[in-house]
Homo-oligomer: 147 residues x 2
Amino acid sequence: MTIRNVLERKNHVLYRLQHSRDVWVATAHFGRAHLVPLSLSWDGVRVIAATKRNSLTARNLEQSHQARVSVGDTRDVVLLDVVVEVVPVGEPGSAVSEQFIIRNGWDPREANGDWVNLIMTPIRIQAWQSEEELVGRTIMTHGTWLT
Amino acid sequence: MTIRNVLERKNHVLYRLQHSRDVWVATAHFGRAHLVPLSLSWDGVRVIAATKRNSLTARNLEQSHQARVSVGDTRDVVLLDVVVEVVPVGEPGSAVSEQFIIRNGWDPREANGDWVNLIMTPIRIQAWQSEEELVGRTIMTHGTWLT
């Protein structure tokens, strides 16, 4: 198997962020892990998801502002450590809700309940497709691409 | 879309546990979430995975003994809240290492480093394939199947 360089992995990660249907979002509260799949959008810098304000995920993130998310699968791994801002859906002056609606074809404001957007900025990104690729899997650190 | 009953979901979850190649494992330490893909086996009651003793996942679990794991994908969701025991690979009297080796075709004892098995017992299981199936998604609570 070919071992991809940093640029090849970055391009693949960007493709995944632009085209994946969902993201797995792992959050925590006092040592207790939570994990859910959510629809996503990507504005070139940040991953945007939506969830109900009273969900465990939103409540964890209001406290920790930290998550680890996957936009790949277990044989095409793309993992992002992110800092997270929780904002009301459709907050004035924000384009994130519109991007999310266009990409996903549904509007949280039309769904039942009180929804929030999760604005997730990657700090560290890892990508690998095989055990051979574990070396060199980290392609962003401290929010900076290694290329 | 057909809404599956509890028994149909249970049978599908068991199929996934028997046949999925990997499991996503979310763990936590002091509000910080971690997430990794691991190979698995299933002994009928417990999910077994293997990781290095010094991995963040193993270290989190030595403290918390709690994880949330996915054996499906984001459109065929199978999520398990599990209690976790961390044991040395190949511990005498345990069949879990052998099961893991047969299913996955590799032996952690022959890999570099110091490996442990994660013995994960489900306490709560959720399964859904569509928004319509969110109602009734919980098919095990307190370690007991709801059928």
